[in-house]
């Protein structure tokens, strides 16, 4: 993280989002909205005085996934990069009704600016790499039998990460949320929302088998004498040193793996009862637990589809970004100049994300190795002589490559201006959808022209 912030060639726009994308491969024009931070980063020294003094202290921390609290002016976590705060305008008293202003008073650098506004910047780029990552499925809505998110000591894997993290709300001590007691019996349930065609997602989320083993290892290591039960469908550990890690958790650490699904979780006094089935012995089982961790499915970020539409490339039914070819072009999209990095393409673990990230970088660098790039000549072209300018082709184009163009020509000695369709050769990907839409046959696809394809049809039907 720090390496990225300090790199002379890298500019960070945090607290920002992409507003619109125009242009095409090699020449994108991107408008970025820099949300108001209310803190002047050129003055802020990151001393943290504002956070210490902020009277609004009970805002639920997004970074701690609800396991901790933060102030209204905040850094998401102590080692944040950049290590400077922003003011959350939804919880800051000063910004809501003008009654506070403590941070401005205490800031020794005079960096607080309550008048700060969102800023729009438009910049040119040759390539865009998508690295929007993943979220966890909203299991509470889907799994009422697991308490539907109402049992405080049933948490998800990311919340467990915050519990066990030295920088987290408990300082790395595993304490359950309800009464901050150290849980002696912890149950992990895998595949919650994954491989569940009826209620969740059809796919395997791929990283959970391994991080569940890691979670189990961490409980057994940190809480002496604890019991860990793991309900599972299968254990999938393809990866270097992965199966060894899993076997160590099972054989050396002593995690108890139960093959079967959990049918019900409910609160009983200060215990959480987990009822399920052990399919290997064909018996129902009940575990009296102190805490339960549901290892939930990875899903795309909630705004992933919207971002894909803004940038202009395809995604699948679940909202994962679609690669140009599953094996041969795994880090490219079908839109030229847009590449995929990490989990936005589909669930991945850390090594795979990093590998794909470097692969995407190489694709970009290869593109940048030349000053000019050759375009595929098999694209649409308009016969302006016959085009009537109806522009039916414009909305049909999935790549926004067709625009209206005014042309002026001499007709009977007079100068006449009329509208025709015009293909942007940088944007056109040569799909030919416009050619089928064109009523007057004025758009043709080079390399797959009407004449060429009809010749093929005729020859094939002889």
């Amino acid at each position: 993280m720090v390496a990225a912030a300090q790199h002379p060639n890298i500019t960070l726009y945090t607290y920002s989002q992409v507003e619109s994308v125009g242009g095409y491969i090699g020449n994108f024009e991107v408008t970025i909205r820099k949300n108001a931070k209310y803190v002047d980063y050129s003055k802020c020294t990151g001393c943290g005085m504002c956070e210490t003094k902020c009277p609004t202290k009970k805002v639920t921390s997004e970074f701690d996934v609800g396991m901790g609290q933060r102030t209204a002016i905040y850094k998401p976590f102590a080692q944040a990069v950049p290590n400077k705060p922003v003011i959350d305008n939804k919880s800051c008293k000063k910004l809501i009704d003008g009654k506070c202003g403590v941070c401005e008073k205490v800031c020794p650098a005079g960096a607080i600016n309550y008048e700060d506004q969102d800023e729009l910047v438009t910049e040119k780029f040759g390539a865009i790499v998508m690295a929007t990552g993943f979220d966890l499925i909203d299991w509470g809505k889907l799994y009422g039998e697991y308490g539907g998110g109402t049992i405080p000591d049933v948490i998800d894997g990311l919340q467990f990460e915050r519990l066990v993290n030295a920088g987290g709300p408990t300082g790395g001590k595993i304490k359950r949320p309800s009464d901050h007691e150290v849980p002696q019996t912890v149950v992990f349930i895998k595949c919650v929302g994954s491989r569940d065609v009826l209620k969740g997602k059809s796919y395997c989320s791929r990283a959970c088998c391994m991080y569940t083993a890691k979670h189990a290892h961490q409980v057994l290591e940190k809480v002496k004498g604890s019991d860990v039960y793991i309900f599972y469908m299968d254990v999938r550990t393809p990866g270097k040193m992965y199966d060894e890690f899993y076997m160590r958790t099972r054989e050396v650490d002593g995690a108890k793996y139960i093959r079967g699904q959990v049918s019900k979780i409910f609160q009983d006094g200060n215990k959480v009862i987990v009822r399920g089935e052990d399919t290997l012995v064909g018996q129902s089982v009940e575990v009296v637990a102190d805490m339960v961790v549901v290892e939930t499915a990875m899903v795309p970020r909630p705004d992933a589809v919207q971002v894909a539409q803004t940038v202009g490339f395809s995604y699948d039914k679940d909202g994962w970004y679609t690669e140009a070819h599953p094996k041969l072009r795994p880090v490219e999209t079908n839109t030229g100049g847009v590449f995929l990095s990490g989990c936005c393409q589909g669930p991945k673990d850390v090594p795979d994300s990093v590998a794909q990230a470097s692969a995407a970088a190489v694709k970009v660098v290869a593109m940048f190795s030349k000053d000019q790039m050759a375009t595929n000549p098999q694209i649409a072209s308009v016969n302006e002589g016959t085009c009537v300018g109806c522009l039916l082709c414009k909305p049909i184009c999935p790549y926004k490559a067709i625009e209206a163009k005014e042309i002026t020509e001499r007709v009977h000695g007079q100068s006449v201006t009329r509208t025709v369709a015009s293909v942007n050769s940088g944007l056109c990907q040569g799909c030919g959808a416009c050619t089928a839409e064109c009523r007057s046959g004025s758009i043709n696809l080079k390399g797959f022209t009407n004449l060429q394809l009809l010749a093929e049809v005729d020859a094939a039907c002889l």
């Binding site: 726009y13 607290y15 705060p85 391994m210 850390v350 794909q356 000019q372 595929n376 000549p377 390399g447």
Partner: protein
């Protein structure tokens, strides 16, 4: 009228073991526009390509059909080959005699041969209508935008930046680091997430 050259590939026994290639060659010679037909054991191999280049020059061929495997596999190969012979790379069409014929009709060689003839005829018909195409060149802005500042975005940005190009990371949150920053140790090495 174009002088079309047809190069029929045996692909070892992959095609030649099912399709009667000499028979296809014989019939292909009668198609309109076909000026030259050659069989090859492996057209994509170095001697196969060399033979093609030589034939294009010797027989003044100006459009080519390669009847071999899938264009998704070897079209770029043959585009380069005809280019070395001085032709426009878009004057090539392939007939997919392997994936779409010999491999899937190996139990009925006579029908496969009949289909191969028709596939070649179809490709010849298209090639007769082909026109040279020319790539155009567009300038490249050598700056990259990375959307998302998690571990993947950071890794991509660092790799691009290390090669000397400017990178902008746009991150929705107030910090980069993403999910990885939230994690404690990660498997299998149990080192830290930061």
């Amino acid at each position: 009228m174009k002088r079309i050259g047809v190069f029929l590939c045996w692909c070892g026994s992959n095609i030649g073991g099912v399709v009667d290639v000499p028979k296809v060659a014989e019939i292909t010679r009668t198609f309109p526009g076909v000026a030259f037909v050659q069989e090859n054991k492996y057209t994509c191999s170095e001697p196969g390509q060399a033979a093609m280049v030589q034939a294009i020059k010797e027989h003044k061929i100006d459009a080519v059909v390669v009847a071999s495997c899938s264009p998704r596999m070897h079209l770029p190969t043959f585009q380069k080959a005809v280019q070395t012979a001085g032709l426009n790379p878009y004057m090539v069409e392939m007939a997919n005699l392997r994936e779409h014929c010999s491999w899937v009709h190996s139990a009925e060689p006579e029908n496969a041969t009949q289909k191969a003839v028709e596939l070649v005829r179809k490709a010849v018909a298209k090639v007769a209508k082909l026109e040279p195409l020319f790539e155009s060149y567009i300038p490249v802005t050598k700056r990259a935008l990375v959307i998302g500042g998690g571990i993947a975005g950071i890794q991509t940005a660092l790799d691009i930046a290390d090669s000397g190009h400017q990178v902008v990371i746009v991150e929705k949150e107030a910090t980069i680091g993403g999910r990885m920053a939230q994690l404690d140790k990660t498997f299998p090495t149990l080192d830290c997430g930061a």
